[in-house]
């Protein structure tokens, strides 16, 4: 009984193609989820129905794309805003010398489709922020292989916000991988159910920042000279002109400025690539770390998509600096997380109620215990208790009707010192 038996074979599915994967999918095991249905149904889902999004086509992304394609995912989408740099070629193995300068997402998609028959990879060369909820809604699963904290915070908040209590399809599992040198982590985020990326923001390794007075007066390291050039000299010489760390001319200027400084203080080791590394905060990427983390992410994607085994709950940490050490634990959701924590309350008020009246209602509400609430919507302030200037600027709103400021079904963010973080009100009118 080899793989032709799955009944959904396409011309690309030659005999034995999925022999090894099918060992897992053809029969349930001691750790399979009760909902697991061995055989054709699960294979059909994985190979013909599941749609997966990969964010990032760099060091982790290349590994993730290859793993997913070889595991049997056939409808893969990939987003990346970068183009290929020659320094990527040592580990981002879907790219060749001839591809330098081309968009990572497009080259990676073409490579995978050529190499793994029957797989469709749809690239998008651009920012994740270009896409709206409708776009993210089409996927079953999302895997992130990003090196940017900001981008991760954005996709995390977007997926948490997308969860709609009325629609099970709106909950998209997010698998997040990250590496820094020999360290890495893989985690499974079930938006609104498990802890989210924002919940763990304080666990991040801090990027090294040197005291500004050391940079200014007592440089000892080549990095101090580079920081001096970028933090102090650039704004002094170029004024308002913004430094673009992707512009080779800017890096060259910083490199030359830092070199002069280094010479003055007898410091060795300022190079062009170190300059680029320091200002872009590049941590050396290690191919093997990327491979391990990507494998872990894809393993989770496979388990979640097929229910063939228990998935990670919820944080896997790899420390390869001294030997190989790993630790898996359940990172707990934070009640005061600004993205997934706090509370949301439905409030039905009269369309005649002034803002002042709403504030009184909140203060009187026994179950939430708010003192001195400040109110805003996503794009404007309604009433802020402080500082005095903003209080005065928003005071005229107190006598306005809430319905003039917030549309039916609209949301108000309430902050107050007595709240752990914030409360959101969904307003309907009577």
């Amino acid at each position: 009984m080899i793989s032709q038996s799955n009944g959904f074979a396409t011309p690309h599915d030659w005999a034995g193609r999925y022999y090894h994967i099918d060992q897992i999918l053809d029969a349930s095991g001691p750790r399979t989820d009760p909902a697991f249905s061995a055989g054709d149904e699960v294979k059909d889902f994985l190979r013909n129905k599941a749609k997966i999004l990969v964010i990032g086509a760099g060091g982790l992304g290349c590994e993730i794309l290859a793993n997913l394609a070889l595991t049997g995912f056939k409808d893969i989408h990939v987003i990346d805003m970068d183009t290929i740099d020659i320094s990527n070629l040592n580990r981002q193995f879907l790219f060749r010398q001839k591809d330098v300068g081309k968009p990572k997402a497009i080259v990676a998609a073409e490579f995978i489709m050529k190499r793994v028959p029957g797989v469709t990879v749809t690239p998008y060369f651009g920012k994740i922020q270009d896409k709206d909820e409708d776009y993210y809604m089409q996927f079953n699963l999302i895997i992130c292989g990003l090196d940017s904290v900001e981008a991760r915070r954005w996709i995390n908040a977007t997926l948490v916000n997308m969860v709609d209590g009325e629609n099970p399809e709106s909950l998209k599992p997010l698998i997040d991988g990250g590496t820094e040198g020999f360290k890495g982590q893989a985690r499974v985020i079930l938006p609104t159910i498990t802890s989210c990326y924002e919940c763990s923001l304080d666990m991040l390794n801090k990027q090294t920042a040197f005291p500004i007075c050391t940079i200014a007066n007592t440089p000892r390291l080549p990095e101090h000279c580079i920081e001096w050039a970028s933090v102090l000299e650039w704004p002094r010489v170029h004024g308002e002109k913004k430094m673009d760390t992707d512009d080779p001319e800017h890096i060259t200027w910083l490199y030359q400025t830092a070199s002069k400084r280094a010479k003055e203080f007898n410091i060795e080791g300022v190079t062009w690539s170190l300059t680029q590394g320091v200002v872009k905060n590049i941590i050396p990427a290690i191919a093997s770390t990327n491979a391990i983390i990507a494998a872990s992410c894809c393993n989770e994607a496979f388990k979640i998509a097929t229910s063939s085994a228990a998935y990670l709950n919820n944080y896997f940490m790899l420390i390869g600096t001294d030997g190989v050490y790993s630790y898996t634990f359940e990172h707990e959701k934070r009640a005061d997380c600004p993205v997934c924590g706090g509370e949301a309350v439905d409030m039905s008020i009269s369309s005649e109620l002034p803002v002042e009246g709403l504030i009184d209602l909140l203060v009187e509400k026994q179950d939430i215990q708010i003192k001195k609430p400040s109110l805003s919507t996503a794009n404007k302030q309604i009433y802020l208790q402080a500082p005095p200037q903003l209080e005065a600027a928003t005071r005229p709103n107190l006598s306005k009707k809430v319905s003039e400021l917030v549309p039916p079904g609209g949301e108000i963010t309430v902050t107050a010192s007595t709240l752990p973080f914030s409360l959101s009100l969904r307003i309907t009118y009577t």
């Binding site: 989820d33 599992p173 040197f210 979640i304 998935y311 600004p338 200037q389």
Partner: protein
């Protein structure tokens, strides 16, 4: 696919849809509306609708900088509070920990910043620099050397600079409160 939804139904109904307001924006609103500043510090928002860019004036009521009003600009980026606020002194002042471009040497603005700190901690830290300038972390080297070697001259320089005088060829901004 695993059936996640059943897990969702089992938990309490607390987690409903959240607003579209960004985490940075909510955090800034929280920080600003809960500022607990002494009368020696005042914020000013050039555009009251923009909470991410504002000024702070510090008017120390004791110490060697008493009588002056010192202006700082705050710029908060969307990655706050992962990234610290960017703070600059907008005047040319004679202070060991502030250079002539307005850069400020305050540990919590750079190497010791943590997301649990807030705008209040930064403001209190800034005010402290005027009460206790620190000659060990110099950004204006002349001022720092003077402070540790010849305190009387340093105090004189501080007074003169605050009136807008020139010290060692550098003219400082007048910062006296009228």
């Amino acid at each position: 696919m695993i059936k996640i939804w059943s897990m969702k139904k089992n938990e309490d109904a607390a987690a409903k849809k959240k607003p579209k307001t960004s985490a940075a924006q909510i955090r800034v609103q929280k920080d600003l509306t809960e500022l607990d500043l002494p009368s020696t510090m005042q914020t000013y928002f050039p555009d009251p609708a923009d909470l991410l860019n504002f000024n702070l004036t510090i008017t120390p009521d004791e110490g060697m900088y008493k009588g002056g009003a010192f202006a700082f600009s705050f710029a908060i980026n969307p990655n706050y509070p992962h990234d610290p606020p960017k703070v600059k002194c907008t005047q040319k002042i004679y202070h060991p920990n502030v250079d002539l471009e307005g850069n400020v040497c305050l540990n919590i603005l750079r190497e010791d910043w943590k997301p649990v700190l807030n705008l209040n901690s930064v403001m209190v830290g800034l005010q402290y620099l005027f009460l206790e300038p620190n000659a060990d972390d110099p950004l204006n080297k002349d001022a720092a050397t003077e402070m540790s070697k010849n305190r009387d001259t340093f105090l004189q320089h501080v007074k003169q600079s605050m009136r807008g005088n020139t010290i060692k060829g550098i003219s400082y901004d007048s910062v006296l409160v009228h």
